[in-house]
Symmetry: C2
Subunit: 377 residues, 2 copies
C-alpha cells in the first residue's frame, strides 16, 4: 500500500486524533492543512517558501492539468513532483468538482461526464477510467476517485441517485488504477445533507478497500452548523485506521471544528484566494490590508506572528504594494495566510497531544473574534 | 561627501574602467547594472532574491512614490530602505523623465513642471526644489537632479533651450538638497544628439560640484550607433574621479558597449519588463518561452546558466506557468533575466581586470547572435 495511516493518540476532550500519514514522498503530521496549487503551482509561492512555512503536502487539480499543459506532458517531465520541483507529498483531486463547477454545458451519463473546457470551449470527456489515467500520469502520492458533487440545496432523490453513481464510479476507479504500489487512491463519501445517504455512501465505499476516505460535497454554500452535523454522523462510519480528508474546507474555525470531529486532512483555496484581494488572517481575526486606516501603520500584519512577512514588512508597505498592484504584496499576504493556517494546525496537533483541543478552540475563537461557528471567515 | 568613486584600473583595450562606488549603504563594484524597483519593489522579486542574484544597488522612482504612497509616508516609515526592507544602496531618479513621459497635460515653465497624475488626473507640480524635498524624504543613497528629457527627434533650438534650463535646474537642486552628508546628488547631462550641446551641458554641470554624473536623454528611440556616438563625445567631458551613469539602458549589447566607453552604472526596466511577457535573455540570445516549440522541452531556460531558475525548472514548466497566467512563472523569468545581466556585468568587470573587454565583447556578441550593434535586444 502506497499510503499508510499511523494513529498516535486521540484527544480526551473530543474525537480529534493525532497521527501520521506515510506516503512515498514522506510523512505528513495530521491533522494538517494542504495549500492548493491548482495549476502545478501554489499561486505566487516558490517550493522553498512553502517548505519554510511548513507546508507538508500540497494539492493540485486534475481538471486544470488535464486541460493545460496536459497530463502527458507532465508525465514526460517525470511526473508532477519533478515538473514543479516539489519533493514532498502531493494530492490531486479527481476533476469531478471542477467538471461540475467550472466547465460549460456538462452532460452526465453513467459512463462519465462530457463537458466543454472553460478555457477554449473544447468538448472533453472524463470517466472514472480517464480520471485514473490522468492521475496515474501526473503521479501524485494521493489520487482521488472520480465523483459527482451535488449542489446545495438539492432534492433527496437527486442526491440519492448521484451518490449511488459515485459509489459505482469508485469501484470502476479502483479497477482502473494502475499504480497501487506507489499511489494511494482515496474514495469520496457523498450524500449531501442527508444522514441516511451519507451513511450508505460511507458503507458502500468502505466495503471496497481504499487506503483513505474523503468527505466531499461540503462547504458548498450550506450553513456551517449543517456541515458539522454531517461530520458528526458521517465520520463514525469511516474506518479508524485510514486517513480522513474533508475536502474544500479552510476557514480557521472549520479547521478546528473539523479536527475536533476526527478529520485528518483539509484543503481549500481560501487562504491564497483572499490573500490576493488583501484579506489576511491574523490572531485578532480578519484584516483587510487595503483599508485606508493602515496607510501609516508601520506595525506588522499580525503582532503575534513570526512569519517572514510579519518579521520584515509593515502594514503600510503591504497596503502600498496591493494598492499599486505589485505582485510582491500578494506574495507577502499569501505567505502570511498559509503560515497562519499551518501554525494553527500545529497548535491543534499540540492541543490534541495535551488533551485540551476544546479549550484551545474556545481560546482561539475568543481571540479571533468568532462568537458563533457560522460567522466563520 | 556621501558618495565617493574609487578608481581601480582601466582596461588596456578601451576606456572601460573598473571601480567602486562607496555609498552610505555599502560598496558597489562597477561597471554595474541596477534593477529597477519603480514602486519600492522590483516587480515580483523579494529583497533576498535580489541579493541572491547579486543586485548591488536598485533604483526606485520619485514620480511613482510621490504619487503613491507619498514621500511623507515613506519618510515616516524610516525611509525607503526600511519601508521596502532593502539594506543595500538605493538610487532614485528625479521624476523628470516620468513627468514628461507618463503624466498628462504637462506644462513646463522655468519654475518647474505642472502635470496631471496618470493615476487619478490630480494636478501636481514638481520643481527642482520639490524633487529634492521628495528625495530627501525618501532617503536613497543617490538622488538625481530634476531635468528635462527632450524627445527624439527634437530640433536643435528646442534641445538647446531645454538643456540650458536643465543646467539652471541642476544649480537649484544643489542649493535645495538638504542631506548632502548622507545622500549624494548626481547631475544629468542632456543635449540630445547634438555634440556641442552635450559638451556644453557637461561643462555647465561639472563646473558645479556633484559627486556623480549621469547621461540622460538616450535610449529614447534613436538608433544605437547614435547613442554610442553621443557617449564617445560626452564621456571625455565628465570628471574621471566621479561615477558615470547611463540612464535607461539595459540591453546586453548596450551594457557592454557603454562599459567600453567608460560608463560605470546602468539601469533599465527591460529585463524585468520583457520577463513578464516571457522573453528571456540567454547565452544564445533571446528566447520567447511562450513559443509552442518549448511545450515539451524539459531542459533549462539557458544551459549555460546556473541561476535558481535554470537549476530547478524546465522550459516546459515555465512555459506552462506563463500560459496559465501564473505569477511564479514571471518570478522565474524575472529572476533569470536579472541574473543574466548581473552575471554579464561581472564578466565585464573581469574582462576589464584582464584587459580584454573588446575580445569579450566580440565573443559575447557572436554567441549571443548579435551581428551588428543596432540589432540589440
Amino acid at each position: 500500500m502506497a499510503i499508510k495511516y499511523e494513529f498516535i493518540k486521540q484527544c480526551k476532550q473530543s474525537g480529534a486524533r493525532l497521527g501520521r500519514v506515510h506516503t512515498p514522498h514522506g510523512i505528513i503530521e495530521t491533522p494538517t492543512f494542504m495549500p492548493v496549487g491548482t495549476q502545478a503551482t501554489v499561486k505566487t509561492m516558490s517550493p522553498e517558501e512553502l517548505k519554510a512555512l511548513d507546508a507538508q503536502i500540497i494539492l493540485s487539480n486534475t481538471y486544470h492539468l488535464f486541460l493545460r499543459p496536459g497530463h502527458e506532458i507532465v508525465k514526460k517531465a517525470g511526473g508532477l513532483h519533478t515538473f514543479m520541483n516539489w519533493d514532498r507529498p502531493i494530492l490531486t483531486d479527481s476533476g469531478g468538482f471542477q467538471v461540475f463547477s467550472l466547465s460549460e454545458r456538462r452532460k452526465i451519463t453513467e459512463e462519465g461526464v462530457e463537458f466543454r473546457s472553460h478555457l477554449n470551449g473544447e468538448k472533453l470527456f472524463i470517466s472514472p477510467e480517464k480520471a485514473m489515467e490522468i492521475q496515474n500520469a501526473l503521479g501524485p502520492d494521493i489520487m482521488m476517485a472520480f465523483d459527482e458533487c451535488p449542489p446545495y440545496p438539492a432534492t433527496y432523490e437527486y442526491v440519492k441517485q448521484s451518490t449511488e453513481r459515485t459509489s459505482r464510479w469508485a469501484e470502476r476507479c479502483l479497477a482502473a488504477h494502475q499504480r497501487k504500489h506507489d499511489q494511494g487512491l482515496f474514495a469520496i463519501v457523498q450524500g449531501g445533507m442527508f444522514e441516511d445517504l451519507r451513511v450508505q455512501s460511507a458503507k458502500d465505499l468502505t466495503s471496497m478497500d481504499f487506503p483513505g476516505y474523503a468527505i466531499g460535497g461540503l462547504s458548498v454554500g450550506e450553513p456551517k452548523h449543517l456541515m458539522y452535523e454531517v461530520l458528526d454522523y458521517t465520520v463514525p462510519h469511516l474506518p479508524f485506521d485510514k486517513p480522513r480528508y474533508l475536502m474544500g474546507v479552510g476557514s480557521p474555525d472549520a479547521l478546528v471544528e473539523g479536527s475536533i470531529r476526527g478529520i485528518d486532512m483539509f484543503d481549500c483555496v481560501l487562504p491564497t484566494r483572499i490573500a490576493r484581494n488583501g484579506t489576511t488572517m491574523t490572531s485578532q481575526g480578519r484584516l483587510v490590508i487595503r483599508n485606508a486606516k493602515f496607510a501609516e501603520d508601520f506595525g506588522p500584519l499580525d503582532p503575534n506572528c513570526d512569519c517572514y512577512t510579519c518579521k520584515n514588512y509593515s502594514r503600510a508597505y503591504i497596503r502600498h504594494l496591493l494598492k499599486a498592484d505589485e505582485t510582491f504584496g500578494i506574495r507577502l499576504t499569501t505567505y502570511h495566510n498559509l503560515h497562519f493556517l499551518t501554525r494553527l494546525m500545529k497548535n491543534v496537533r499540540e492541543a490534541i497531544m495535551n488533551d485540551c483541543l476544546l479549550d484551545y478552540r474556545d481560546q482561539f475563537f475568543a481571540q479571533y473574534g468568532l462568537l458563533d461557528n457560522d460567522k466563520g471567515f
